[in-house]
Amino acid sequence: MSDTTFRKAICAALEEELERDERVLFFGEDVAAAGGVFAVTPGLYERFGPGRVFDTPISELALAGAAFGSAVVGKRPVFEVMFGDFLILAMDSLVNQAAKFWYISNEQAPVPLTVRCAVGAGGRFGAIHSQTPTPWLLGVPGIKIVAPSTPADAKGLLKSAIRDDNPVVVLEHKRLYSISGPEGDGTVPIGEANVVREGSDITIVAAMRGVHDALAAAETLAGDGIEAEVIDLRTLRPIDERTVLESVAKTNRVVMYDEGPELGGWARGLLGAVAERGLEDIDDSWVIASGELPIPYSPTLEDDFLPSAERLADEIRARVKAPARA
């Protein structure tokens, strides 16, 4: 398969699933006629028409509610919330309706609903257009959260999300839309992390853009004789603890690397899971995340606020060289 971009891979996934299953709908603000503000979905409206692909009012709560209700009666809605920051307006329907329905209905019907949103900082969009909604949704049983780092995973995970019978939130990091890579040609299973680099000295766990930082740091560290194993989580709920535990059992050191915040983010909780299930394997473990602040606008502040490949490499170098725990 030839290379494609992250945004094109997403569009291809939507196109293929709309084609494959006529129950699939796709809607959102300016996604149809205009093709999306991040230019991710051009052509779908022209191809599938307004009955399947349509623009909506600026009403995130109604979007989520309409998706929920249509899913319960048999559609497979996919809707876009332009920036992940706005997902918070839709949360009641996601959390109190979609996530609970399967269980409280006594499994009368599933809720096959997918939300896509652009997330993440580093684009100088300021505090209200740069957040990643993971912390708000991580503690919601019934929801799945996927977080791809490559075009192939973006495509494969979105396809899996659309075919999944549960509400799935698909996080698309803004600073990945333009990256290139193989397109991939199938689904990617939800809930399975990916060891993207093998190593024996430390495990770096990351997601989305963080995976690229982790790989860059691992390259640098290799020059210093430190071999880092890099795990791309790919799904944040449910979280693939097993792959992480297996890696830590081998490397005995782990750093969770996330865009942040630390308190309430996936990174600390995953470290807690490792402490619960793999305590005897850990010689050293920590979290690198952002500061506990809203995301700043000014380039100097935002760059300092976010964790970086450099900081990751530096901290690992300092700690792995230090004497290991007795």
Partner: protein
């Protein structure tokens, strides 16, 4: 203008449906089922058999009984935490419903949901929604699922819900997409303990729909045949592709908001005036066949007593056996 006067000076109803005696009797049967069921549930709640809280529908029966009489199999209904009426009007099994409230394994949702969150897809009940306004979204979504076919969806909700985000966003959304959804506001003049006029600026609920160009009728919600006629007209327009419709049904709950509420915030004269307009009494009067009415009442009562007994005899769910999964497979 007093609340009762308000309720009786409503809009003329679009639609000229004239029910037959059998249809009237059918409506009466449904309403009696709802009434007797709720009376049983109240007793069970007071006996400590039903847990948490319960919101009774007594007094409002004409609304869901009337609206659901206009629906067909395949249509969808979304209701509120005060939703036993809508569930039964849709044909949900009273025994299973009672068992659900009693927390039993044989309940509509296996005891997982409880009174406020009943779901019964087999009877077209998308769900009862504990979040004020949530039903509006669920029905809007169900209608999105129906677009292009000839099925319709109905949302029941209260006057207080018209101040919620869901109300506004979903009405606009439904009209923009011309979805076949009937919004039914059961205006019982109070949201919990707060009178309508103190929480609802303008106090013009039907007007809030009309400003979206959604046709809206304000009707006497204590008269089954009036509600049923309005619903038939609205449903016909939806099936003809005319998009969302709205009914504001003026009604009154005879009891408090929920279990612990004695309803002291309501003037006694007001309560009395509304009790005098009991929807069941009124439909009996319209039917004008006391013998038949009494027979229906006795039959419904007997069926219910038996159903409740069976529900009470059912086992509680066994957590070791109720193998719940976080995700659908």
């Amino acid at each position: 203008m007093s609340a009762v006067e308000t309720a009786t000076t409503v809009d003329a109803v679009a639609g000229d449906w004239q029910p037959t005696a059998d249809e009237l009797a059918g409506g009466l049967r449904t309403m009696l089922l709802l009434r007797r069921f709720e009376e049983e549930m109240q007793r069970l709640f007071l006996r400590g058999e039903i847990h948490g809280t319960v919101h009774l529908y007594i007094g409002q029966e004409a609304v869901s009984a009337g609206v659901c009489s206009a629906l067909e199999a395949g249509d969808w209904v979304a209701a509120t935490y005060r939703g036993h009426g809508a569930a039964l009007a849709q044909g949900s099994d009273p025994e299973a419903l009672a068992a659900e409230l009693l927390g039993r394994r044989t309940g509509t949702c296996g005891g997982r949901a409880g009174s406020m969150n009943i779901v019964d897809l087999d009877h077209g009940l998308v769900g009862c929604f504990g979040i004020v306004g949530g039903s509006i979204a669920a029905a809007t979504g169900a209608a999105l699922g129906c677009r292009g076919g000839d099925r319709v969806a109905v949302a029941f909700f209260g006057d207080g819900a018209t101040n919620q985000a869901y109300f506004h966003e979903c009405l606009n959304f439904a009209k923009v997409l011309e979805l076949p959804v009937l919004f039914v506001c059961e205006n019982n003049l109070y949201g919990e303990f707060t009178p309508l006029a103190q929480s609802t600026a303008g106090a013009d609920i039907a007007g809030r729909a009309r400003v979206f160009d959604i046709p809206a009728a304000r009707v006497d919600g204590n008269r089954w045949e009036v509600v049923a006629a309005a619903a038939r007209a609205a449903v016909a327009r939806m099936r003809a592709g005319e998009g969302p419709q709205f009914i504001e049904a003026l009604t009154y709950r005879h009891l408090g908001h929920s279990k612990s509420d004695a309803g002291r915030y309501r003037p006694p004269e007001e309560v009395e005036a509304w009790l005098a307009r009991d929807p069941i009494d009124q439909l009996r009067a319209t039917l004008a066949d006391d013998e038949r009415a009494d027979a229906i009442d006795a039959e419904v009562g007997g069926e219910l007593t038996a159903a409740v007994e069976r529900a009470l005899a059912a086992p509680f769910p066994d957590p070791a056996v109720d193998r719940a999964t976080e995700y659908a497979p």
